[in-house]
Point group: C2
Chain length 467, copies 2
């Protein structure tokens, strides 16, 4: 059976259906043509629609150059998952077909056993060694972010020799944006940098040493992302040379790569703050992996919630005498949680921007305390008025005492919530824990407990006016 060619719009609309058909026929050529016609967004959507087995079969059937391009266009985590399901031999030839830094990123993202197996299958053992070293650097360090796309020349060359080298290596350099040429000593250590535009205007016979900038700024392979962001923020470098433990030039880290990593980090932080442990989930991942990761954050939350259950239990008789209170407990909990989470978010942002340090407790207490008093007053008054009149709406009576209890508990609890919400990220940061992950559950537990305690203990004092 042959399948009639699909009309253009059908391909761009639901490309994964066409992939299914071609996979069923193991039509390598057809798949390669189809995938080559995709834009990268098509790629990603189409791949997400395939089962994990089909993704692996697709990548196995494609020409390794096309497979490499396809995987490069996917989110790294998804590409690494697919590669793990492909034979090591196949995976090795795909990694070899990629630009070095893209390959390294995937190797870093794979399980260590899988990436070791892939490296062992590579044709060129020297290149495999090089990739192994590069993959050993943390993804968020200069070593992990650097690229090997740079030009370096011995510092004893002449200008003419450098231009000759650049011109003869034109093909090799065509993928890179050469604007700086680095000069190295005989032992490979970085000695200077040449700007391409300076070379252009210098007589070819002059030694590069007469034009090079000596002792150029450089960073070590272990420089962390956080400090790279600061360096590129304070200087307008396009890129910086990276040197290894022995001072040898190892690569170049670009402002763009640093900015991209910072952006990835922010995206991860957002997901972590919403309870996605690890900072990455795509719906194309296996169901049980997704379940397990989400449960890893939800299950401890059960334990935290038991504190609130206990507090409410302590006041069971109060609640029994004034059942109307039970209606407003979830509202006090929700409103306080929201106020506190606003303060959490501002603290996390200010920590990232370097506007506050983990020790700046007093600043948070005063700034959030003031805000909490105003917002607590506004919210407490509004909710208090609503609670006072709520009885009338539900066929009962106007009860200002109920409004007083709910409103004042919410007002006080708002102050506590914003101060705590502001402080918790700083405390977690100081304890080297991840503020994005743990701030919100800890905050909610505290504010729920305080909120329920305030409502029910205040109510207990004037219980005869509420029942």
């Amino acid at each position: 059976m042959t399948v009639a060619p699909q009309p253009e719009e059908a391909v761009s609309d639901k490309p994964w259906e066409r992939i299914h058909e071609l996979l069923a026929e193991e039509d390598s050529v057809g798949l390669t043509q189809l995938v080559e016609s995709f834009t990268s967004e098509d790629d990603r959507r189409a791949l997400s629609r395939l089962s994990n087995e089909d993704q692996a079969r697709l990548v196995t059937l494609l020409h390794h150059d096309v497979a490499a391009e396809l995987l490069e266009s996917l989110p790294e985590e998804q590409a690494a998952d697919i590669l793990e399901d492909v034979s090591s031999e196949h995976a090795a030839s795909i990694i070899e077909a990629m630009p070095e830094d893209a390959g390294v990123d995937l190797l870093q993202e794979m399980h260590p056993e899988d990436s070791a197996a892939v490296l062992a299958e590579m044709d060129d053992p020297v290149e495999a060694d090089r990739l192994r070293t590069l993959a050993s650097y943390a993804w968020d360090s200069a070593g992990g972010l650097m690229s090997d796309a740079f030009a370096s020349v011995p510092d004893e060359s002449t200008v003419g020799q450098v231009l000759q080298e650049l011109s003869s290596g034109a093909e090799e350099y065509s993928d890179m944006d050469v604007q700086y040429v680095y000069t190295v000593a005989a032992d490979g250590s970085l000695t200077g940098v040449l700007r391409l535009r300076d070379l252009v205007l210098t007589p070819p016979g002059r030694p590069v040493s007469s034009r090079m900038i000596r002792n150029p700024a450089s960073v070590s392979v272990s420089e962390p992302l956080e400090s790279l962001v600061k360096i590129f923020e304070e200087h307008s470098y396009i890129g910086l040379p990276v040197v290894d433990e022995n001072g040898r030039l190892a690569g170049v880290v670009s402002a763009h790569a640093v900015q991209e990593a910072a952006s990835d980090h922010l995206a991860e932080e957002y997901l972590v703050s919403q309870g996605i442990v690890g900072g990455e989930e795509l719906r194309s991942m296996p169901l049980l992996t997704r379940c397990k990761r989400r449960l890893a954050w939800l299950t401890p939350n059960i334990a935290l919630n038991l504190f609130s259950v206990t507090i409410i239990g302590m006041f069971e008789s109060t609640l029994a005498s004034a059942i109307v209170l039970a209606k407003f407990l979830p509202m006090v909990s929700d409103m306080s949680g929201c106020s506190g989470n606003q303060a959490v978010a501002v603290s996390i942002r200010e920590l990232t921007l370097g506007l506050i340090r983990p020790a700046d407790y007093w600043r948070i207490i005063s700034k959030e305390g003031m805000l909490g008093m105003i917002n607590g007053f506004v919210l407490g008054t509004l909710v208090g008025i609503i609670a006072s009149f709520w009885g009338i709406l539900s066929g009962g009576q106007f009860n200002p005492w109920l409004g007083l209890v709910i409103g004042s508990a919410l007002a006080v609890n708002t102050i506590l919530s914003v101060v705590l919400g502001g402080l918790i990220p700083l405390i977690l940061k100081r304890m080297k824990a991840d503020p994005a992950l743990a701030s919100s559950p800890i905050l909610t537990t505290c504010t729920d407990m305080c909120g329920f305690f305030l409502v029910l203990s205040l109510a207990g004092r004037i219980i005869e006016r509420l029942s």
Copy 2:
């Protein structure tokens, strides 16, 4: 009275205290020296510690070049706030001392009346007109992100003339990273692009038209950030020329500027998702501004919470007969909200990555529905067991019926929460609303209502076993 010079560590530790002293003496020279000695992180922390009046006084007392550098190192929103408090004349000279794109960013961030007043005070009316045009582009469009730091030459030049132009304009070009030279026709329209490294290897007498790449890729000033991100993701351009409505070369947008804007956008989205309307709050902002912005999100939340109050009210008699249920209502609300927010975050991320489109409802329903069944079963079972045994811990009895009610309500509500959480961002996106801002409150309202309804209506059916 003269103040003794502060020891080094005191300056770096609490620079704002020293600024206070120098401000009191109106010591312009001292302030300039102190600020020049800061790193940009010091700047930001020090400025954050000053009152708004002191920030404006400091910027007024500093030499305008130093003030310009200081403001450039601050978050844009903070810098714009400070400039609004300075006289227009002063602000104009500071903006003039900045690189054009930094100045434009601040003008865009300021209130329209303030930026108009500043532009009116500028010395050079032609430059003011140019800045006015640039500031009129949205910050997240190619026009708003482009820089004027590029080299362009008439397309009838010779290679030698171009090299001569680059060399004679060395000072002008020294701030930029020239690697492409754009060629324009007599009417200013973009006709081609020259790579610096190609020029270097071409005889000077040849016309540039023989080496230039014709009809180069370009984007319009109105190209939105979202599509710029995609373009730079699919191609490895370092920068792209930007043309205005008439096809004239207006600027160059770099991959780095696009990545930086995407990163700012993510940071804003995180704050918005936590209820910070507008996506930016720094604790250095005026107290009432901070209060108002936070309340703008909290106040509608009160209205949404009233739905849950109503649902609980409908079952007041059930609750009165089995007060133990009231203990577990906030837990059901919290756990369901957390599960749903995980799904919200994954949907927002997948929308950003282009992995799902607003119409992909069925995919979300099937993927989240499956996950909801598993997680709902796990969480429902755990919480059900705890609820069954809770009575024993608090001096009462083992009650499997309570566990059954709470556990099965949580299980069903978890399925609803994750499906709704997954769908709500898509629906909001389709309605052109901001998913980050509204998803969580809408989700919480729905899951609270459903959760309370499930617990209380199930309980009503077996009320004699619970009381």
